[in-house]
């Protein structure tokens, strides 16, 4: 699967940077520690945006493309942050024919994010998933552990509001 790249501006803190620099310092001369450093960086930042990959590349003295090539090879590395609230819209067949795409479009309109992305304030991330087995309620979306069914795009705003603050 192609990884989707987040457009959210980087919001790393100086503390995070300090942590990362320490990790890098520890492994700087270890030619084989690049993946390890990336794993720890992802622990620190939650994902691996360009800025972080650049710091790693510079610190470990490798081209940033090498870091990116690794980040997109292994499934564990993420290029976009996950939100506090994880929205998941089912795009299984039943939901799809019942207009799940309209839900996604509405969410995109309201929050400005597409599937695989996260809002700038880190509040919401959006994903499309396959059938979650609630076809009878199609179209279905979940936010964290809450399941919402029989939706139309008009319901979206109200539901999202519940999670806004």
């Amino acid at each position: 699967m192609k990884k989707s790249i987040s457009k959210i501006p980087f919001r790393g803190t100086p503390e995070q940077e300090k942590q990362l620099m320490e990790v890098i310092k520890k492994h700087r001369d270890q030619k084989d520690a690049l993946i390890k450093v990336m794993q720890e960086a992802q622990e620190i930042y939650g994902y691996l945006p360009l800025e972080v990959q650049q710091m790693i590349a510079e610190g470990m003295n490798v081209p940033v493309e090498e870091v990116y090539g690794i980040a997109t090879f292994y499934a564990m590395f993420s290029l976009s942050p996950k939100g506090e609230n994880k929205i998941s819209v089912c795009l299984g067949t039943a939901c799809y024919v019942k207009g799940a795409q309209a839900l996604i479009d509405r969410i995109t309109e309201v929050l400005g994010i597409r599937p695989g992305e996260c809002t700038e304030d880190g509040k919401f991330s959006l994903e499309a998933c396959r059938c979650i087995g609630a076809c009878g309620l199609a179209p279905v979306m979940t936010i964290n552990d809450d399941v919402y069914g029989r939706l139309t795009d008009k319901d979206v705003d109200g539901i999202l509001k519940k999670y806004m603050d």
Partner: protein
Amino acid sequence: MVSLDKIKAIRDRVRKQFLPADNTYRVVVGMATCGIAAGAKSVYDELVKVIKEKGLDNVTVSQTGCIGACQYEPIVEVYSGDQRVTYVKITADKVDEIIYRHLMGGHPVEKYTIGAVLKSGEDDNILSIEDTAFYKYQKRVALRNCGIINPESIDEYIAFDGYQALIDCITKYTPEEVIEIVKASGLRGRGGGGFPTGIKWSLAAKNQADQKYVCCNADEGDPGAFMDRSVLEGDPHAVIEAMAIAGYAIGATQGYIYVRAEYPVAVKRLKIAIDQAREYGLLGKNILGTDFTFDLDIRLGAGAFVCGEETALMTSIEGKRGEPRPRPPYPAVKGLFGKPTILNNVETYANIPQIILKGSEWFASMGTEKSKGTKVFALGGKINNTGLVEIPMGTTLRQVIEEIGGGIPNGKKFKAAQTGGPSGGCIPSSKFEIEIDYDNLVNIGSMMGSGGLIVMDEDTCMVDIAKFFLDFTVDESCGKCTPCRIGTKRLHEMLEKITSGNATMEDLDKLEELCYYIKDNALCGLGQTAPNPVLSTLKYFYDEYKAHVVDRKCPAGVCKNLISYVIDDTKCKRCTACKRACPVQAIEGAVKQPHVIDQSKCIKCGACYEACKFGAVVKR
């Protein structure tokens, strides 16, 4: 550092704990990932709490690894004298009763024991897992400590002769002798390929180099397999000890364990175990005062199935994209960091200390002519007793499925067993009597693989299964070589075409041709074996393929495009339940009116089929 005598002392002291007198109890809780997921942690906490409250000083409580009977987790076992009682599906609220009646009153709580819960019609008075059919045929070598000792205690490992094999090796045997023992045992790699372990070691031993490496493959990428996880979670020291022995045998001073990051419990226990071994001087410089030096490092996989392939694994340890390299040169010549390296699977290693201690004849006495010892399988799919079983090589598929596995649920018919995961194949019922070993499985177009054994019944569509595995390989192909990168994608597309009813008989020929091409041309094992699920189903279930192509029907009723839901009016009670369940309003009808499904609207979601309590909705 701990001296040899001290180790002996530990062994003698701790061993006593494991032989509790009649009125003392040793309680163990299965706390591998499976147990924890089922709620073992709260059971353990409750046990500790209550026992402390009651001040029972004749009871010890500890955690242990995987006992193997997944569907019965959380499992608690109580040892006393020579009695072993296995409690299954225990929750915190049952703990009081067990403590009160069993630990304080001396009477096992029968209704919670495995015998009472087993579905396979065994006697209610079976108290211990050892007496069940599930366990009876098993022979625990690799898993011998799993579910018995506390994996976070090196002392308990030592109590069960742990590290004695390493001590024997470095004090009694030359490296050549160690390799000879392993060779003579007939041990073959448990990671899938079945390459003779002793020969692998001897190849690496004879290459001179300033540095050599010993690696352990704990990537366990095969979906549905969890043998290696269980060993690492239940008996991590066995792997560490074996790797040190391997290091001694081939002349390596450094080892790496490549574990998938998805196994946090295994990683944690490995770390603990490595630290303990270092503290005891069983890892590190001058082990036990000899001039043998060996240390270990853990590397975490980052989510790539292909990194189970040996050269990809090494490339990944080197910190790069885990793409396989051409072989030769083989790792024994040019492996990790370009140095001679051996790579073995977790289970392979778990056998080594036993082989050293009990001798190669003992090991070779188990199994078949060319496959010695035992093999651990993860039983799954449509079978009653899912779980982890270790059986001697040569056990028949029938024994595994009918006796150990307790047969197929719901009286359905066995259709096939899949071994080897995405690299393996399906064994049809006509081969039910096959004796499971490396060569027999290969001969019928499957392979041992790492030990996943998925049972399928009549409701499984074999074309769909092939497609499922191809979906996996397409996702996991590294993308380096043409045959696999593009070829598996095209295979998947062809299967898609078949399951959606758009294929012709020529497509079937093309499918087969492409399979053989990929096997012959792909760079690494992933691509070379990726067509196996297709080839073996083509071989044994060709009629099913033909039904999809010629009759445009899916006999198992799985492939959505090829089935339709209709309402059998003679059974229909006109209750409208189906109509209400339908997400796309494909059902016409009202109360007391006939119900009909409009096929042009139906998306085959099956909701009506599930909704109808009268079996009036039928699949065709």
